[in-house]
Amino acid sequence: MKKFELTKKSSDVYAFCALLLATSAILVYTDVYNKPNNENLEAGVYLQANRIDALDIADGAVYAYKQEASTGEFDFVYNKYQVVNIDDRTQDVLIPGTGDFAPAFYASDTALFYKGTLESYEVVVEIAEGKVRIEKEDSPHHYCKIQGWVGEAGMPIICAPNYFMVVIEEVVDA
């Protein structure tokens, strides 16, 4: 039972051209009509398709997300840790909402990050010059870290298989 042929046919070339044309058409459509309004952008943070956070992309900052003890196999809760001034890099800093002090453990050129031990966070998101990247994450192949800086609205950075996603998009009114 031979369902198809193994040698190239002329209709393959037509199919190739049709697919290329369709790709170009979608590219033009998405580039012209499906762009977010560039005036008013923020980085949306999603976990399992739930919008868990929105980050201001105007200023350089680093945010880390920690996986709390999960209540089920696919039920994650991530906590946002706030960022303090870069000058405080060496000092113990106040943990928001707790009143406790902890030493800083992560620093980049744009911001400082604090609280907890190195083992206690899973995902670090860095923002600089209107671009966003995932600095550190716990997915097995580190695709989203390899992807690097993304400044384009609508281009998602997706970490599989932990379903963590960051994408620059229009500001969503709460």
Binding site: K3, F4, L6, F16, Q147, Y163
Partner: protein, 168 residues
């Protein structure tokens, strides 16, 4: 007696191809191409799909594809990836089964259509799950990659089909 023998042989062969597809799926996660574009895969498991379609038929092709997703999900969990894979499988199987009826396309055309429609199905599902139409902006990347990987997979599947001989 001969008929029963053939039925058993067919089940054994399909089971073998199914297992091979799951293994290729797993192995591929180590040779994915994140440097080129995130989310782009070669789709090596699709070579198995093409071989099954060539030797066994549409029904078996659809079934092996579906069972491969279920089996993979048993290892990785029935999370969002499962639904995204399911959407990709559904659209690509639908189009391939439809186009095979016309007998116009060879393995190259079918593989290209399969890869591109797989990406399209996945992006549609992602857009629904994430409730964001901007996810569609990623479609041109996936679709162009689908044309290239589809051709590559067709070459691989053709070389495999030349060497695998199944006598009915």
């Amino acid at each position: 007696m001969r008929k029963t023998h053939n039925a058993i042989l067919k089940i054994a062969r399909l089971g073998m191809f199914l297992a091979f597809g799951v293994i290729l799926n797993f192995a591929e996660s180590y040779i994915a191409l994140p440097m080129i574009a995130p989310g782009v895969k070669l789709g090596l498991a699709n070579t198995v799909g093409l071989i099954v379609l060539y030797y066994f038929g549409e029904k078996e092709f659809v079934a092996v594809g579906f069972l491969r997703i279920i089996l993979t999900a048993l290892f990785t969990g029935f999370g969002y990836n499962f639904f995204i894979s399911l959407a990709g499988w559904f659209l690509s199987s639908l189009l391939v089964v439809l186009l095979v009826q016309f007998k116009n396309l060879s393995i190259f055309g079918l593989s290209m259509v399969s890869a591109v429609s797989h990406g399209l199905g996945q992006i549609i599902m992602v857009s629904i799950l994430y409730e964001s139409r901007y996810m569609l902006n990623y479609l041109p990347v996936l679709s162009f990659a689908g044309i290239v990987t589809g051709l590559a997979i067709a070459f691989v599947a053709r070389e495999a089909l030349k060497r695998i001989v199944i006598n009915e």
